[in-house]
C-alpha cells in the first residue's frame, strides 16, 4: 500500500503480492540429525531435536539481542517496513512481529523493547504486563488496544506516528542523546548504559505512568555522572527527566 507524499507517509511499497518464500524441509532434516541446521537442533534423541519442525522459531527476528529494539506488532508487517525507513542507521533494530509471535520476539529484546509500535492487533497478556511494568515507549496507530498503559501515545495517521518515532530516535535532553545501538551519550562522549535512561531521554518531555522504584537506577547513574538531570514525578504524575536544582548539585 502506498501513501501519497501529501500525507507525509512517504513509503513506497506496492500492494501486489510477490512469490512467497518456499517452505523448506531443512528443519525436518535437522530434526533427523542431519543437514546444515543440525548444529541448531536442540537436544533430544541422539543428541538432536526431534519433534516439531515448524520454521518460525528459526527466524532471525527471534534471536536474542541486547541492542535497542523497536517491536512493531501488526497483522501484515507493512507498518514495520515504514518504521524501519524512518529509523536512522544503527540507532535501533526494528523487529517485525505478528500477534502470535509478539511475546517470543519481545522476550528476545534484552532487557526489554525500547519501543513498542502496534496497529490493529490486541495485546497479549505477557506484552500487556511488560508495558505496564517497564518504561517502554508505546505508540499505537488507530484504535487503541485494551490494556495499553496510560503513557501510550495514540495516533490516527501513520505520518504522525512515524514522525514521533523519528523524534524519539533523535531525542536530545540536557546534552544527553541516544547513542547508536544502546546507551545514552553525554556531551563529553561518556556512555551511560541503561534501558530505563534511554526511555526517559526518548520520552522527554513526556514520561511514564510507572512506580518510582523503576527509575531509581537511572537516577543513580545520572547522579554519579553529575549529569545535572534526574528522574522525578512530573505534574502529570508521570516519571520524567528534570534538571537538578543548582543547590543540590555536587
Amino acid at each position: 500500500m502506498s501513501g501519497g507524499a501529501a500525507d507525509g507517509y512517504g513509503v513506497s511499497v506496492s500492494t501486489w503480492l510477490a512469490p512467497r518464500t518456499p517452505v523448506t524441509p531443512t528443519l525436518t532434516e535437522a530434526a533427523r540429525g542431519h543437514g546444515p541446521f543440525r548444529s541448531l537442533a536442540r537436544l533430544g534423541v541422539e543428541g538432536c531435536f526431534v519433534g516439531a519442525t515448524d520454521a518460525p522459531w528459526m527466524l532471525g527476528v527471534r534471536a536474542p539481542d541486547r541492542s535497542r529494539a523497536i517491536l512493531v506488532v501488526t497483522i501484515d508487517g507493512e507498518l514495520a517496513v515504514a518504521v524501519r525507513d524512518v529509523v536512522p542507521s544503527g540507532m535501533a533494530v526494528v523487529r517485525d512481529a505478528r500477534q502470535d509471535d509478539a511475546d517470543e520476539i519481545a522476550a528476545a529484546c534484552l532487557p526489554w523493547p525500547w519501543m513498542v509500535v502496534g496497529s490493529a492487533v490486541s495485546l497479549t497478556p505477557a506484552l500487556s504486563l511488560l508495558l505496564r511494568e517497564r518504561p517502554v515507549l508505546t505508540f499505537w496507530l488507530g484504535c487503541a488496544a485494551d490494556a495499553l498503559p496510560g503513557h501510550a501515545r495514540i495516533f490516527e495517521r501513520p505520518a504522525a506516528l512515524l514522525d514521533a518515532v523519528r523524534r524519539s530516535c533523535a531525542a536530545h535532553v540536557g546534552g544527553m542523546r541516544l547513542a547508536p545501538g544502546s546507551g545514552v551519550e553525554l556531551g563529553d562522549g561518556t556512555l551511560l548504559r541503561g534501558a530505563t535512561l534511554e526511555s526517559l531521554v526518548a520520552a522527554y518531555p513526556g514520561g511514564f505512568a510507572l512506580p518510582t522504584r523503576s527509575f531509581r537506577a537511572a537516577a543513580g547513574v545520572l547522579a554519579r555522572h553529575d549529569a545535572g538531570w534526574t528522574a522525578v514525578r512530573g505534574g502529570d504524575a508521570r516519571m520524567t527527566l528534570a534538571p537538578v536544582p543548582a543547590e543540590q548539585r555536587r
Partner: protein
C-alpha cells in the same frame, strides 16, 4: 602472513555469481560463492570455526538455484542468529513489495536492502562504498587493511576492518581473541592520535565513534 577476509555470496545465476566472485577476488577478499541456499548454509557450517565473513550478499529470489531444499530466508535467519556482526545486503527484483521486505526483515532484522532492477553495477558500487569506506581519518584499503590517513600507518586485523565496515553500528565479538584484537585496535587508534575512538558497550560489544570536530569537517564520512 594474513588471511583475506571472506565474503559470502548467494546468487542463483551462474554468470552473476562469477562476476561477483571475480570482483571480490580482485579486491583481495576470499569469496565464498553459492548458487543455492543449502550450499551457502553448508559453507557457513564448514567455516564456522575458522572464519566469519565480513559481508554477505544474498539474492532473495533463488528461482534458478540447482537445489531448492533451503531458501534465502533460511540463510538470512542463520546469519542473524550466528553471525549478527556480519553486514548483509539482500537484493531482489521485488524489494519494493512490503511483504517481501517484511519477510526479509523477519529473517534478518538488520539486513540492508538493494533493488536488483538497478543492475549489478549499482550493487557493486554499493558494496565498494561499504568496504572501501572512510570513517574519520581511517580508510579501508583493498578490504584487508585499515589505514590511518594522516600517518599512512596500517592495521591489518580483520576485526578492525569489521568495526570500520560496521560504523556506526555496534559489533559483538564472540571470542577472547577477537576482543583482545579489538582492544589492541583501540590502543593503536589512541597511539596514532586518531580522531576515531573505540567505544565499549560491555558484553563484548564495541563500536567506533568519530570525534565531533572531525565529523564536522566537510568531506569526512561518519
Amino acid at each position: 602472513m594474513r588471511a583475506n577476509p571472506e565474503v559470502l555470496i548467494l546468487e542463483d545465476d551462474a554468470e552473476t555469481l562469477d562476476e561477483l566472485q571475480s570482483h571480490f577476488t580482485r579486491k583481495r577478499f576470499h569469496p565464498l560463492g553459492a548458487r543455492s541456499a543449502s550450499r551457502a548454509l553448508s559453507l557457513l557450517e564448514h567455516n564456522r570455526y575458522s572464519s566469519r565473513p565480513v559481508l554477505a550478499i544474498i539474492d532473495w529470489d533463488l528461482g534458478k538455484a540447482p537445489d531448492r531444499t533451503a531458501s534465502s530466508g533460511d540463510v538470512l535467519s542463520r546469519l542473524a542468529r550466528e553471525l549478527r556482526e556480519c553486514p548483509v545486503i539482500v537484493y531482489s527484483q521485488n524489494i519494493d513489495a512490503f511483504n517481501v521486505r517484511s519477510q526479509i526483515q523477519r529473517s534478518h532484522p538488520r539486513a540492508l536492502l538493494h533493488d536488483k532492477r538497478d543492475g549489478d553495477a549499482s550493487l557493486l558500487e554499493r558494496i565498494d562504498r561499504m568496504l572501501d569506506r572512510t570513517v574519520g581519518d581511517l580508510r579501508i584499503h583493498d578490504g584487508t587493511v585499515v589505514v590511518h590517513l594522516p600517518t599512512l600507518e596500517q592495521h591489518h586485523h580483520r576485526e578492525a576492518i569489521r568495526l570500520v565496515v560496521h560504523h556506526p553500528d555496534i559489533v559483538t565479538f564472540h571470542s577472547d581473541t577477537a576482543t583482545k584484537a579489538v582492544r589492541r585496535f583501540g590502543e593503536w587508534l589512541q597511539s596514532h592520535g586518531s580522531a576515531v575512538r573505540l567505544v565499549s558497550h560491555g558484553n563484548r560489544k564495541y563500536r567506533i565513534s568519530v570525534t565531533a570536530t572531525e565529523a564536522a569537517e566537510p568531506g569526512i564520512e561518519t
